[in-house]
Symmetry: C2
Subunit: 177 residues, 2 copies
Amino acid sequence: MTRWYEDIHSGQKLSLGDHTFTLEEIVKYNLQYDNQYFHTDPELAKHSHFGGIIASGWHTALIGQRKLVDGLFAEEARLKALGEEPGLSGPSPGINKMSFVTPVKPGDTISFELSVTDKRPSKSLPGWGLLFNNMKAVNQRGELVYSADYVAFSKLRDFKPTLKQRIGIWMARAFSG
Amino acid sequence: MTRWYEDIHSGQKLSLGDHTFTLEEIVKYNLQYDNQYFHTDPELAKHSHFGGIIASGWHTALIGQRKLVDGLFAEEARLKALGEEPGLSGPSPGINKMSFVTPVKPGDTISFELSVTDKRPSKSLPGWGLLFNNMKAVNQRGELVYSADYVAFSKLRDFKPTLKQRIGIWMARAFSG
């Protein structure tokens, strides 16, 4: 989230809106990134495990990422409108688990939501905290289609580096490519 | 891999070739899917943690997925040329862990490789096995930039369903949307 690390708490949720996956979009995406016949060819896909074209799990994940970034921008705008200073979110070291639970089919409308599940100060990056978030996506029938456990950095508002940390930060800056 | 489950063994590797990430491609991709300033704006990105634009980890993951599909097609063609019948790979239930280790910067050439780490017969899907693969990507300096633990279905060549399994398969087909 785009709040300061200190203002983020386990259980907080951010609704990220929904997205309808059309057949045209699914085929176009997969011709570029995941060109397996059950993602790209409506005729051949009839003979696949799912009896028709399904979206690639990666496609659902990506739409979720875009929804997340848009959601963070919207939250930032909301905080600014309230006269508050928004926090700073940083890069992500990875995803702990990503599950493709139910296939997404053409015409499905998928809703995305982010929940904070845990947080702790970063050991490797002074002044930053680590956030553990869960991204969840459900279809128009309320079935879970996708779940992913994100890890992300979030900046501390009240960070006062020690002398040792200040030297570390300076060295990291001087030696990073 | 596109071999039959029985022919896949832990330790097998599949080289998937490389990809050079240009600044233009990074910006274009991220304007669509991960529009944070350190992925899209060379000027603003100078003030970010990495001192310049970096690729989104998702982008690296996607290029890896495309390389994987291309690699499976190539392996299928190779087996057919040898007069062998290639196996059948199925959908993926998810990714167990995805790590963005070192940032990918414009001009970096990234090599992808898939390794089989484990396998077992599927409990939920008769006639299929579960493969555990690791996708690894390194840059031109040999630094690991990305690692992901894939889970994927692979069909058994020698599957003879029991009567109970045949009924289960028939019912799954009849009732799947």
